[in-house]
Symmetry: C2
Subunit: 112 residues, 2 copies
């Protein structure tokens, strides 16, 4: 909100904190996929192009550790695992929306 009142160093610190959470090629894509209804492991894998199960598994663990996604196991017959995003993860929406916007315009710009 009051970003104009911060020093350069404070802004850098906050941005680095945010970068630390969303860093890497896959964390945001995975969170986007889950938040749009892809809750099962294979569903997420299909929704996020080119991700391997090993990477997906590792990233999901990290996201769970950082309280960004939740994992629920249902004791059904084939066994069902459901991933959902936390409200904390949802608070990233403004950041993600701006990134989607910028990426979209970036594509347009590059295509010119």
């Amino acid at each position: 909100m009051h970003t104009d009142e911060l020093t350069t160093q404070q802004k850098i610190k906050y941005v680095q904190d945010t970068l630390y959470v969303i860093a890497g090629k896959w964390k945001l894509p995975i969170m986007i996929a889950i938040s749009f209804g892809h809750s099962r492991f294979r569903e997420i894998q299909r929704a996020v192009p080119d991700i391997t199960p090993k990477i997906l598994s590792k990233e999901l663990k990290e996201l769970k550790t950082n309280k960004l996604v939740m994992r629920k196991v249902y004791d059904t017959y084939p066994i069902t695992v459901e991933y959902t995003v936390s409200s904390y993860c949802k608070s990233l929406k403004p950041v993600v929306d701006e990134m989607i916007n910028w990426g979209q315009n970036h594509r347009v710009k590059v295509a010119e």
Copy 2:
């Protein structure tokens, strides 16, 4: 703007494009430092905590290649090099502002 009309896969694509540009620990901090008036090499180095000259040099080259920052050399006696951000870089402001915001609230949350 019309992010609601995009498919999950398109959103993921755009976010990955954006991530690709701002990826890494240092690119955004450097751009922030420059955009807030730290235009000289050593100034930037002082403004961005813990960055080494080698990393700074490398990142500045990449940012210059991607048209995000400009480099001007003045033929003065100690020699003066001035870095400025491009208007393209300035278009990232909404993204960065949201990241500053989120990082700030994140700190508050962690401190609770």
